[in-house]
């Protein structure tokens, strides 16, 4: 039993912390989020230099062979720095999906490109009518000669404006909510027939809704096996949820630091407000919640690449359910304890809170995952 990061992981953490405090402070981040792209290409190039973009990929594809705990280290800092770059979408979610989709020429085509910083990806798996259900796929893919034609709509595609390719889930067989018959396709973002309505997200990132009108792709665009995409998707999503849990750890850590420091410096009635017991006890609850959140994020990280699907699923949905609820508490109370300052756009706390809220809404919120965890008890 060992809960420490390795020396290499600590070095990575240190590198990222120093980079964030030097090159990615709050003002820089704010101006980036208002820029046209919404992120920093220089930062992306720097991530490539640091090897972050190669971290979770096997060495044969230009990767560093890192594990989910290595990703946890990075994602904690992504949270601390509220990074806008599409690291999670490209490297963790889509990169992980292609890495785990089975032996395939796509791995050779895509992973080294991601690792080198030359390719960014986004996942288009949600549809308006399906809410969080990834098996709700009405978007169709029909055989046409040697390729496929995709038609339908996808919603809440995070980081799609900066992506070179989109991984799209489409139905090749079965009914609208069947898990069988879902296939995954790697589609060029500027493919004819694909329209993206771009928008900003709540915390200043970028996303979009997709319309696919007879988008043509060839057989080489199929990720994994035709009709068997759901298991691949599920596995990638599990890994990506573990990463979101780690990002939450970074954010609640930052929020608790900020709140504690505010309690010690903000004076009312002639004394620091941290001398009031009502606030002290709230802060103690936030401290406890942050410790429990970290514990669950650790469970998620060490289970994320487990081959035991049932065990992995339980650990991941449990962590997402727990952290969704506990992080909401920390976020709301951090805002509350900052008083009016907590709801000011110029203050970092409001942005952390918005990011936590977005994380809860990404890939299933606390109630959604609690229901799934609860179902495993009945099984």
């Amino acid at each position: 039993m060992d809960f420490r990061y390795t020396d290499e992981q600590l070095a990575l953490q240190d590198t990222l912390q120093r980079w964030i405090s030097r090159d990615y402070d709050f003002e820089r981040r704010r101006s980036l989020s208002r820029s046209e792209r919404g992120y920093s290409p220089e930062a992306w190039a720097h991530f490539a230099d640091l090897g972050l973009l190669a971290l979770p990929f096997p060495e044969e594809f230009g990767g560093l062979g890192g594990n989910p705990v290595d990703l946890m280290v990075v994602m904690e800092q992504v949270g601390q720095g509220l990074l806008l770059e599409p690291y999670w979408s490209t490297v963790v979610l889509c990169g992980g999906l292609i890495r785990d989709s089975g032996p395939h020429p796509l791995q050779q085509r895509v992973l080294p490109e991601i690792a080198a910083g030359r390719m960014k990806l986004a996942l288009a798996a949600h549809e308006e009518a399906g809410r969080y259900e990834l098996c709700h796929v009405e978007c169709t893919a029909t055989r046409r000669g040697a390729g496929w034609t995709l038609s339908g709509a996808k919603t809440a595609v995070l980081d799609v404006p900066s992506a070179d390719y989109v991984v799209v889930s489409a139905r090749t067989a079965g009914g609208a909510t069947d898990t069988d018959g879902i296939s995954l396709f790697l589609v060029k973002r500027d493919a004819p027939g694909l329209t993206v309505s771009e928008y900003q997200t709540q915390f200043g990132g970028r996303a979009g809704d997709l319309r696919l009108e007879s988008v043509v792709v060839d057989d080489a665009a199929v990720v994994g096996e035709v009709g068997k995409g759901f298991a691949v998707l599920q596995r990638a999503v599990d890994g990506a949820i573990a990463a979101l849990c780690a990002e939450s750890v970074g954010i609640v850590t930052a929020l608790n630091q900020a709140t504690l420091s505010y309690l010690k410096t903000r004076k009312q009635f002639g004394v620091p407000i941290g001398t009031f017991q009502a606030l002290q006890h709230r802060m103690a609850d936030m401290y406890i919640a942050a410790e429990q959140i970290r514990s669950m994020a650790i469970v998620a990280a060490v289970s994320a690449d487990s081959e035991d699907v049932a065990e992995r699923h339980r650990a991941i949905v449990g962590a997402k359910a727990y952290i969704g609820q506990a992080a909401r508490f920390v976020g709301q109370q951090a805002v509350q304890l900052h008083g009016g300052m907590g709801i000011v756009e110029e203050h970092m706390v409001s942005h952390y809170f918005k990011r936590l809220t977005m994380i809860d809404l990404t890939l299933g919120d606390a109630d959604y995952h609690l229901a799934r965890y609860s179902d495993t008890l009945a099984a």
Binding site: M1, R294, S295, M296, S374, L377
Partner: protein, 384 residues
Amino acid sequence: MNLNFTPEEESFRAEVRAFLAAELPADTREKLSTGRRLTRDDMLNWQKILHRRGWGAGMWPKRFGGQEWNVVQQHIFDEECATANAPPQIPFAVKMVAPVLMAFGDAAQQEYFLPRILSGEHWWCQGYSEPGSGSDLASLRTRAVRDGDDYLVTGQKTWNTLGQYADWIFCLVRTQTEGRPQEGISFLLIDMKTPGITVRPIITIEGEHEVNDIFFDHVRVPMRNRVGEENKGWTYAKFLLSHERTNTAGIGNCKRALARLKQVAATRLVSGRPLLADVRFRDRIARVELELRALEITNLRVLSAMSGEGRAPGPEVSALKIKGSEIVQELAELHMHALGPAALAYRADAANVPGEYFNLRKTTIYAGSTEIQKNIISKLVLGL
């Protein structure tokens, strides 16, 4: 990052499990698995069985008859005992007064008391709280006045757990009234058979006799039964409380209660369907199971840091106490609700599930209430 126990720890776990399977008396296991109370003999008999195996006090130093288990081994032992429905060790002797005697007692006290704790010959109880001194323990007023080579002790202790079974009581008494309240306290060991001691039961909310008032009327205590120096008792008391806080999360106990709850929910049929099929009830189980899973890891993180750094538990264990006590309360509440209208009946003779719910309200009150724990976190962890 590695959540697995080492091969040595796993083989220790197997050893404990095999021992429990072979040695735990069947009637004791039966009582605990159905939530019934143990007698004094059940408890002391178990201590004797542990002692025969050399596990009467696993964490003690070898020179006092222990095994020098580290906190992780103790955790494994506690967890296996809970899973097997073995009795928890009465903390007052092995985990509380003994460490004080080892650290501050004289050779005669160590030689007389420690072997009798190990062997289960002596049952110890605690004389800390008083009617006017709960969370504010240092305000205690029970007086010990010198009379030749003795003290004469007069006053009242309360919330004394299972003192009706006790051979000895360790007491905080006031030996000086000047100065700060903390400065005039001494730590005495008192034979419960001494004339002048009256034990009066306090019947608690569920109808059981678990705690007592203890009255002292000019009780004669030889000076040799004072631990350490006069007026330094507060230091020893705080030392004791820090030992009380190991295993404060009670993970093994919570796991046992959760397993019992899940079994009840899976087998209790409602119009032919198991209660577990009720989504709202199942979600409540899911919530508490997740809280427990998180706490289990948080607890292991604390233990792992302690064993790695070889240090005593710090103020972070307050978080474990808060969460562990809330979880055990929630589990008892759910168990009661699982019974539905059957829980309305008061049953003194058998497993009294609602009684357990009522009784366990104590967990967020005793050993430093939740609010005191939050004060500790806020002062010592957060620096507020």
